[in-house]
């Protein structure tokens, strides 16, 4: 194990090699954790999911018979009006909440607890302010018992990957919002999660940074290809990134429509191209308009 990691020290930075060393390192690490990792599919299955919140007197039904399937390594973007249960859906997928009825399954088994195989990235980064960039990325590896030598290798790789070399020892508050979110993303990816859950990860960034981060996310993601559930309020972001887009109806949330972006985005998917080129394509604009129409009708229904 140690040797595998050490060997790839030199390969480092380059993201593309098929036999990604980090992958091997962490696969072994997962075996050490005792999970049956080797033959696992990473698909998500939502089966008649209902989620209710019991407040004082009133009960809020956030999600209602939500049915959906996310294939392994698929990039699914969730859009819908505010309060329709998107975050709730993500929290359930992470194992932080449990559905009132129905099942959420990862690779065929019901999700019970949060864990490093289900990474989550929030809008406000939620880095540990008392830890340096390096220790933030290290946290998950360390508490799961990976030996220091391997950890250092991996962290170095990921710090280079997110372009923050030189900032290893900075505290989060010394970084810009975009840099902080990069660290949060690295902290998730370094764990080699089976699914990556992102709740409006770029909403707090300005337009330029947002665009940069979208491209960067694609770059990092395509090297590892975890299954992604990505929430956004930006229709453009959804159309640019997604394999498929789920539009959720206003509360109680159900699947209103599922749109297949891959059918339009071409064989290599347009997210591999620069955003400003893609956004000018008529088929992109057409899809964007369609989705915006769907979301708008839900918002207007409300009033």
């Amino acid at each position: 194990m140690m040797r595998a990691a050490a060997d790839c020290g030199h390969a480092a930075v380059d993201l593309q090699p098929p036999g990604d060393c980090g992958a091997r390192a962490v696969a072994g690490f997962r075996v050490a954790l005792g999970s049956r990792s080797i033959v696992m599919t990473n698909d998500l299955e939502y089966e008649n999911v209902v989620m209710e919140f019991r407040g004082r007197g009133a009960t809020v039904r956030a999600l209602d018979t939500f049915n959906f399937h996310v294939a392994e390594s698929e990039f699914v973007v969730v859009v819908g009006p505010s309060g329709c249960g998107k975050s709730t859906l993500l929290h359930m997928t992470a194992g932080l909440m449990h559905p009132t009825a129905g099942r959420v399954m990862l690779g065929g088994s019901i999700i019970t607890d949060p864990g490093p195989d289900k990474a989550i990235v929030f809008q406000n980064f939620s880095l540990f302010p008392w830890k340096s960039v390096r220790s933030n990325i290290d946290f998950g590896l360390r508490i799961n018992g990976m030996p220091p030598a391997e950890r250092n290798e991996l962290i170095d790789r990921y710090i280079k990957l997110i372009g923050l070399d030189g900032f290893e020892n900075h505290y989060p508050r010394q970084l810009s919002g975009g840099m902080q979110q990069r660290v949060a993303i690295a902290r998730s990816f370094v764990m080699r999660p089976r699914v990556l859950l992102m709740d409006e990860p770029f909403a707090a960034l300005d337009a330029q940074n947002r665009q940069l981060m979208q491209e960067e996310l694609v770059r990092i993601w395509s090297a590892q290809r975890p299954t992604v559930m990505f929430i956004t309020h930006s229709v453009e972001e959804a159309v640019f990134l997604a394999d498929r887009i789920v539009v959720i109806s206003r509360r109680p949330g159900r699947v209103k429509k599922v749109l297949d972006v891959t059918a339009v985005a071409g064989a290599s998917h347009w997210r591999m191209d620069p955003f400003e080129d893609v956004i000018r394509r008529p088929d992109f604009q057409e899809l964007r308009a369609e989705i915006w129409g769907l979301v708008k009708s839900e918002i207007q229904l409300r009033s």
């Binding site: 932080l96 949060p114 864990g115 490093p116 929030f122 540990f128 830890k131 508490i143």
Partner: protein
């Protein structure tokens, strides 16, 4: 900024200088009796008196009496209060059992404990350390409690999704996240401890700065009172300053150094 700094220094000098000038003027030629306001020279004499052993108490005894006793009580309060505050914030059953007790004890001002402490523990180190303990333990508990309770939910959630156990959540997320607030509590407790030991010495003591203030008063030697007050203020200031230095060391991520 430079201009404003200059202005600030100027006005600061004017006001401090003004106060000193007023002091010199008022006490100058018997406009105010020395008891009401001792002249600067008398205050200096008072300080020398104390140094030579006012009421035959050697000067260092005052430091020993006030500081040693206070620090004993203060550190015991930290040792007891912080773990209790953290525990009740983290462990719900303990909160249910202890928070009503705290709610009852908290509003009793520290000086109100003085007579009881003397009754229970005598007028020596034990009694005074107890008073300081009672005074300091409340902010220690309260601030640790709130510090842990106010750990940002998303940090806990992030750590859990990274695989953190309860133990890791407490020691590696909640505690560091709450450390600044805990430190604030300890600093408040330090000020409270110092004020309380002085109060306790005003009631009963054989040495200490409260002892000086009280005996200066009894003997109508206001210059002794004033030296006592100045010493109390200077020591209070120095302790606070030292604490801030330590705090900056312990909580470096709070700083912005760019």
């Amino acid at each position: 900024m430079g201009r404003q700094q200059l202005q600030r220094t100027f006005y600061g000098l004017v006001s401090i200088g003004g106060i000193i000038a007023l002091w010199v003027y008022l006490t100058g030629s018997g406009r105010v009796t020395p008891i009401i306001l001792p002249p600067p020279a008398d205050v200096l004499e008072g300080a020398i008196d104390i140094y030579r052993g006012y009421l035959s108490v050697p000067w260092y005894e005052h430091f020993r009496a006030s500081l040693v006793v206070m620090l004993t009580g203060y550190f015991s309060a930290i040792a007891v209060g912080v773990p209790i505050g953290v525990a009740i914030a983290w462990w719900r059953p303990l909160e249910v059992v202890l928070s009503p007790l705290l709610a009852v004890l908290r509003p009793i001002p520290p000086p109100a404990w003085i007579p009881l402490a003397i009754l229970w523990f005598g007028i020596g180190l034990a009694g005074k350390a107890f008073i300081v303990f009672v005074a300091a333990v409340v902010p220690c508990i309260m601030n640790s409690y709130l510090a842990i309770k106010e750990t940002p939910q998303e940090l806990l959630v992030s750590a859990r999704t990274l695989g953190a156990s309860q133990r890791t959540l407490l020691f590696e997320v909640a505690l560091p996240s709450g450390l600044p607030a805990i430190m604030t509590g300890l600093r408040i407790a330090l000020g409270t401890s110092w004020a309380t030991i002085v109060a306790a010495e005003l009631v009963v003591s054989l040495a200490g700065f409260g002892f000086l203030i009280m005996n200066g008063y009894r003997n109508l030697e206001s210059q002794i009172v004033m030296v006592g007050m100045i010493a109390v203020a200077v020591i209070g200031f120095l302790m606070n300053w030292a604490f801030l230095l330590i705090e900056r060391r312990l909580v470096p991520w709070r700083e912005t150094d760019d």
